[in-house]
Symmetry: C2
Amino acid sequence: MEKPLSKISYRNLRRIDGDLVNIDCADGRIAAIVPAGSAAASGAEMIDAKGQLLLPALVESHVHLDKTLWGQPYRANSAGPMLKDYIDNERRVLRKVKAPIAVRSAALLEHCIARGSLYIRCHIDVAPDIGLSHVEGMLALREKYRDLVDMQFVAFPQTGMLIQPGTVELMDKALAMGVETVGGLDPAGIDRDPIAHLTAIFDLAEKHGKGLDIHLHDRGELGLWQIERIADFTQARGLKEKVIISHAYCLGMFPHARIEKLGQRLADLGISLMTSAPADTHVPPVAFLKSIGVNICCGSDGIRDAWSPFGNGDMLERAWLLAFRFDWSKEEELQSALDSATGAAAKAIGLAQYGLKAGHAADFIYLPVEALGDALGQRPHNRNVVRHGRLVAQDGALLKSRLG
Amino acid sequence: MEKPLSKISYRNLRRIDGDLVNIDCADGRIAAIVPAGSAAASGAEMIDAKGQLLLPALVESHVHLDKTLWGQPYRANSAGPMLKDYIDNERRVLRKVKAPIAVRSAALLEHCIARGSLYIRCHIDVAPDIGLSHVEGMLALREKYRDLVDMQFVAFPQTGMLIQPGTVELMDKALAMGVETVGGLDPAGIDRDPIAHLTAIFDLAEKHGKGLDIHLHDRGELGLWQIERIADFTQARGLKEKVIISHAYCLGMFPHARIEKLGQRLADLGISLMTSAPADTHVPPVAFLKSIGVNICCGSDGIRDAWSPFGNGDMLERAWLLAFRFDWSKEEELQSALDSATGAAAKAIGLAQYGLKAGHAADFIYLPVEALGDALGQRPHNRNVVRHGRLVAQDGALLKSRLG
């Protein structure tokens, strides 16, 4: 249970426009944001941020916590060269690693929180060989950490869906158990029957009244064609603002003119895009697509798992990687990069009351830099994280006392 | 002056192969690397690394310390859209910023050392409007920090050379003052007379008995053609192993077959390549070029300056960015990434006795991770840095007492 919350006033926080403010919190919500120097409510506990930079709580919109080997002994990447080899290798590795999700994923989750992510959408593998074991583990994890972080789940058919009989039924059960979102995976490239794949996942969404989050790695025209079909299904099923397409490399492979109409359709249907901002492949042209109204956010994807030793769950690092990907350096570009891990991500995953505003949950971070450019460029680890008005991480370390 | 050095034994360092070793230092050099558990020399001071990961000192092979605004109030990037605008903007900004190199560059240099870079090649702007002021500032800086770091300098014609009369003469003076290397900049794209440009800089190199380090941003066939000409000059002037081409984006714009012969020529002439591993443009195909014998290293390029707020001088981050650029994740790939900021960089800038070997300078770092994959993926800031046998940075903070 969350402890009773008193009034807390965070003093001398520097907004990214440079102004110093205080944030007065009451009952876990922002009561007021006022100029520094204003008096606090009587009886409020005072915490002086000493001019550190204030940012809204970070939003992790795409991560695979159930796959991580965080906190486990290091394992060299032993996968073969093809996507299929990586999928098979992951299964082998996770069978060998004895630590359950309650240990592996919890260790990473705590790290993500300490880096400032207080809203996390996590894909969870669902497949015949593992059944619902990952779902069960993650549901328990969410319950344990509910005072510290808001988590959303996606039932993700990592090994394929139609090509793995029984997977749709497992996803159906996962959704009944409390998973919020229907996943999908390369309807053409992996499942080899795109319309049947989309029919199945949109049927699940309709049955459970949920949204969708579809991994799409398929490239070139094959990718674009599937985005058009996802738009068709979204429109036909009335799921405006409820669908994310994750990765969508294909959008980065064409001139703007070729994708403009499709982009406008995504904007009209409120279909968001998620990118991990990879450097070795194409990335949707973020500035152009945002200029025509498409909502785009960033996510970590896998973190220190059987796929790669890399990733660390730092959403400031991911936002910087987006800027790095496009060689952004101007202030409005830096704000767009930050947006990919804050406002745009919140919109993509459907957070109703997100951001630094009176009445919203008092969820924010502050860190020892002067400006947004330094927050992204330097990404100091010694961050302070406030969740529902309470400091839950200080100088980069999670305050374990806040847990349950 | 450097303080007298006693015997120091660093205990329980974990090599990247997993073995635990001790490094016994005497008079600033590595006396022996022995299995952990071995007895130390009598009278040696003992420092227990407690199993932290051992890496050789990092090598920064390309940085512009004289341009940095490190430690100065944050400035939003105010440059216009073109390369020329960025060059002009930098001049405006640096005229406005009052802090001299002794302050700005020193602050960044100390940060780089604390992150583990003990060998640094720095390009220094030389141009009619600033004359040799940056050279003078950097020479003084090198003298002040000589106990902590080995620095090499390149006389760099940032605003163009032949198109800026007087620049060659200033470079000539800079080389006479102690700058080690002749710079160059887009002989075709900026200076518009490639053969005259190369003739001038190779003449300077010959006159002073120095090597060269040439910025080449020119793309496509124009870039390849200039690399061929640089190879011609290197061969004709007998400067094998003495030339670096920095950036060389053009090599990443063609199929391997098209650049293989040129790559073999670079290998034969010992011409190294330097990349900052950018994600928004082409990068030389590092794995392929290394496979045919080309030496390739990484550098930070500009750091928090008028060009961009980004960059932080962390060469582990740069090595990781190289891996990220090519989606490397296997152990041999991680070692290649590390090599770009250690061995390959040392070779590129001509360090004679580099690396963890008895008889070499006792320059190394250790940090709280278990394996190379974690060093690159997590890049903890709380590193320990040993220079000439002495701890000069501890838990990420420079020990100021070591300075002079």
